[in-house]
Symmetry: D2
Subunit: 118 residues, 4 copies
């Protein structure tokens, strides 16, 4: 089984075993996901970009970042499962669009601001 499928299955059982499925509406899970994304911001908000690039050199900061990134992952995987979305497939679709939209010829080495990845 794929790693995302395995995570989704594990969380499905986790919720079912505790009778927490009623809490896991798309609305609630999107809030939880955004809340965890906010905690990630808090880890990085006062760092310069350069400091943020070296943040994993500090073992305690690294531990917190792994934990926050994992929390975002869990709620994202659970949300996608509840919505019936195949995360990897949906991500590739967006990257296909980005490949077409941000062609290497037009964007490489240009002084233009980076557009979003997708």
């Amino acid at each position: 089984m794929s790693e995302l499928g395995e995570l989704a299955g594990r969380m499905r059982r986790f919720a079912r075993d505790r009778d927490w499925e009623r809490f896991h509406t798309p609305k609630n899970l999107a809030m939880a996901l955004a809340g965890e994304a906010g905690e990630l911001l808090a880890e990085l908000q006062w760092l310069t970009p350069e400091e943020s690039s070296r943040v994993m050199d500090d073992p305690e900061a690294a531990r917190r970042l792994r934990s926050e990134v994992a929390d975002v992952t869990l709620y994202l995987v659970r949300l996608a499962d509840v919505l019936g979305i195949d995360l990897a497939a949906a991500a590739h679709v967006k990257l296909d669009e980005s490949d077409r939209r941000y062609t290497v010829e037009d964007y490489r080495g240009s002084a233009r601001k980076a557009p979003p990845l997708s």
Copy 2:
């Protein structure tokens, strides 16, 4: 290769080909991730929990949700890659902790509020 590893590799090439690696600091990617999580919220904010559970029945809403969920996925995978974090492994660590912390015996069928998944 795993599906997350494949996505990470594809985005690494995407950024390198456009000379956008300098934009992809952990700080900037965490902002992009949280911004996309905010767009997910916007899709669901006025729906009742019940409406949110049926949101994929509307083809246009389903298309937007797939797109937003994919955007969150892309920035999350890219952020983890830049930080050197194994997303699936980190997520399993958190689920192990949740299994120990929220035991089925203590939490099943209780009237207590659902704690976070992790």
Copy 3:
């Protein structure tokens, strides 16, 4: 002095007295604001809409919500001050637009989804 002006002045002195002005770039303050908005979400994410409407009846939850709402306010006021934006004036401009866009005739009593306030 207006209450928003007073808050902005107090935070300006707070930052200056600690030599923290260099941390208060618009980028960093927007991250801090979004991080605090994420903490607000965390307070409400597992509640039903009805429970959320009664959340201030619980003194402990009320205390936390006052604290989170205050944190959002502080970073918002500080961000606006750093950007040179008059918050109240900017908000009235948006409400003027909303008045024109969402006319009472067209929106009252309709079954349409509520559009954003602004």
Copy 4:
């Protein structure tokens, strides 16, 4: 009337006139607030800190930032009104705490990372 009280009153009428009060639960308004905070992030995410400090020099970016900051303000004021929270008073309480916690003697000119404002 205070400027925050005036904004709150105007939004109360706005919601009532359109019969949108049922949408304005604390849960939904917190989502809308966080969503707008996410849009603020999107305006600043690819800028360096220095570029973010000059962002208002660009009239088009300035217009967008005023609009996003106003949206955050509106949902914050509306959320506080629905919760019965006095925003300015709650913010001063937090600043009082910060004054005590982050004393000028201990924090000024130190090499320590800036703690949050509150």
